[in-house]
């Protein structure tokens, strides 16, 4: 279950005026609940301008994802800073990690450049890379998930 799937479900909910949705999978449970203030049920006169509350993105409504992570569940390597991400030490070199790469806590997984300083980002976990969530040369923010790792 990743953010793309959740977004798709949210869209479907909006389109079909569904207010609650619950899905339980093998290792995770998702429960989405919409508030009712985003609909057009309010009686409007001709010159009513849409209020900002009607246009609030889904982020203001209750969304909770409860990962029931078993010991073998994946964990995220998250960005500890704001900057531009690079997957290799230099443009000509190969990527630090790919899917399937084994990492240990001190393995460098990527570089984040901030204010002209290249910061080597360590895995901080032991395991195998299962997903790559970012693209080379793209900006990343604090806390942004970069890689998924299945801990060993």
């Amino acid at each position: 279950m990743d953010i793309k799937d959740i977004k798709a479900i949210i869209d479907l909910m909006k389109k079909n005026s569904i207010t609650e949705f619950e899905l339980e999978e093998k290792d995770s449970k998702l429960r989405l609940k919409r508030g009712l203030n985003g609909t057009s049920q309010i009686a409007q006169s001709d010159d009513v301008v849409p209020m900002i509350s009607a246009a609030l993105p889904i982020v203001a409504q209750t969304v909770s994802v409860v990962p029931l992570a078993a010991p073998t569940g994946e964990i995220d390597i998250k960005s500890p800073m704001v900057g531009t991400l690079y997957r290799s030490p230099s443009p000509e070199a190969g990527h630090y990690v790919e899917i399937g790469t084994e990492v240990s806590p001190d393995t460098i997984v990527c570089i984040i450049e901030a204010m002209k300083v290249m910061n080597e980002i360590k895995a901080e976990v032991k395991g195998v890379v299962t997903q790559i969530l970012i693209e080379n040369g793209k900006p990343v923010e604090f806390g942004q998930p970069l890689f998924k790792v299945r801990p060993a």
Partner: protein
């Protein structure tokens, strides 16, 4: 023309700045800590970048992350708001060296007004009186006692790097002076990273009168009148108004004098952009310079309402290098404006903070009513930051109408899920002394003292 501005702040002021940018067709970038992901400023901005954990020291005060965010978003300028890094000369310098315009005074002006002791000296040079006191930092206990002897008790011990009403305490005799001197230094080191303190005479029944100034980069400086901020609790402002009832009722000629003094001080510092010069006025019409706030202030809307001038918009235009479009003679005042700060605090429980989820939220409206807030139904106020959730600004043709309208407006608030200070503001609006315009900075203490006494008598 700026194409993109990063707002290095949060809450209601971030919303205010984003609105001003939108009206100038400038794209906005919000930064936020992890607990602010659902905050209004994040939702309003065109882009948003997470810069850290909840703690301000790990997010809104992280110069490196703010600059990183500014770079990846490729902004032209940063607006620092108030508090946080707004008066941090180092931050302003870093911005400039990274080719990012800092929307505020120049690093030079910030340094010229340096800490409070330095600006006191500058004011004296500009021919403005300061409360009698030490000439700079008090180095030791012996000096403190000597100064207090010279100027006479009671005195105020103030942190040179303090701000927002923090880092000050009074002393009424030698014993409390020595104790207060050492405690203040320790607290100041912890809170502001600078243990320097200075001593000033404590003016009895002081009225806090501040002057709004604007300066362009050609050296032209004007003032936009005064705000009376005497209604405070523990040195935190609760209510601000313009014009000051003290000046209106007793000292009409003082407005011009104080305004000119403010401009002289700003000129001595070669000040640019928006700022506020604070004064203490006593019951005899003597005024003393306190300090300069080198930023846009919380209560700026009060001045906007009586002058018709958009101060945040002006900040952005001045930062873009535009000259001041107004001369002193162009500034006129119309009507009376009052602002009530609304805090998430329980006035019946010694104003203890009341963070949490706002369940229902309806704010006042109608003619002459302006609400500046980031609150909304369903928003969870994080416990990590200050408790102010909004400002209610009301304008009337005169003070009487403004107070009546404020009463009417305060009554319209519907906020459930958290406690707020709305009821306390209502009590102030109905207080006969406030309504008469006769109050000084010990007003709230006296009001609470009376109320507390009634409660005690009720219980016994």
């Amino acid at each position: 023309m700026f194409e993109k501005v990063l707002v290095a702040n949060r809450g209601e002021i971030a919303v205010r700045i984003i609105r001003a940018c939108k009206e100038l067709n400038i794209r906005t970038v919000a930064v936020y800590s992890e607990v602010d992901a659902n905050s209004m400023h994040v939702q309003m901005a065109d882009e948003a970048i997470c810069i850290g954990n909840a703690a301000s020291s790990e997010s809104y005060l992280r110069i490196d992350r703010l600059i990183s965010a500014a770079e990846i978003a490729d902004v032209d300028a940063i607006h620092p708001g108030y508090g946080f890094l707004s008066e941090n000369a180092h931050f302003a310098e870093v911005c400039e060296s990274c080719n990012i315009r800092f929307i505020g005074p120049s690093p030079h002006a910030m340094n010229a007004l340096g800490d409070k002791a330095v600006s006191r000296a500058l004011a004296k040079k500009a021919g403005v009186e300061t409360p009698p006191g030490s000439d700079g930092i008090v180095e030791n206990e012996k000096d403190a006692l000597a100064i207090a002897k010279r100027i006479g008790y009671p005195v105020m011990i103030k942190a040179v790097a303090g701000g927002g009403g923090r880092g000050m305490r009074s002393a009424h005799n030698d014993i409390s002076l020595v104790k207060g001197y050492h405690t203040s230094r320790t607290e100041a080191e912890k809170a502001f990273g600078n243990s320097g303190v200075y001593i000033e005479k404590y003016i009895e029944n002081p009225h806090h009168i501040e002057i709004q100034i604007l300066g362009d980069n050609k050296g032209k400086i004007i003032h936009l009148g005064e705000r009376d901020c005497s209604v405070q609790r523990r040195n935190q402002k609760l209510i601000e108004e313009s014009p000051s009832p003290l000046l209106e009722n007793k000292f009409r000629k003082l407005r011009d004098k104080i305004g000119k003094a403010a401009v002289r001080i700003a000129e001595a510092a070669r000040y640019t952009n928006a700022g506020t010069v604070e004064f203490i006025v006593d019951d005899h019409g003597n005024f003393y310079f306190l300090e300069v706030n080198k930023r846009i202030q919380v209560e700026h809307p009060v001045t906007e309402e009586v002058t018709g001038i958009d101060l945040v918009r002006y900040q952005i235009l001045l930062a873009m290098g535009e000259p001041l479009q107004h001369s002193q003679g162009d500034i006129t005042f119309k009507g009376h404006a009052i602002e009530c700060r609304i805090n998430a605090e329980d006035p019946f429980d010694d104003f203890s903070p009341s963070p949490g989820r706002i369940e229902m939220y309806y704010q006042p409206g109608g003619r002459g009513v302006r609400m500046e807030t980031h609150a909304y139904a369903g928003y969870t106020i994080p416990p990590t930051y200050d408790s102010m959730i909004g400002k209610l600004i009301v304008t009337g043709k005169d003070r009487r109408e403004a107070i009546d309208r404020m009463n009417r407006a305060l009554n319209e608030f519907l906020i459930t899920g958290i406690k707020t200070t709305v009821s306390f503001q209502q009590a102030i609006m109905q207080d006969p002394n406030f309504r008469r315009g006769v109050y000084s900075t010990n007003f709230v203490e006296q009001l609470l003292g009376g109320a507390r006494r009634e409660l005690i008598e009720e219980k016994s």
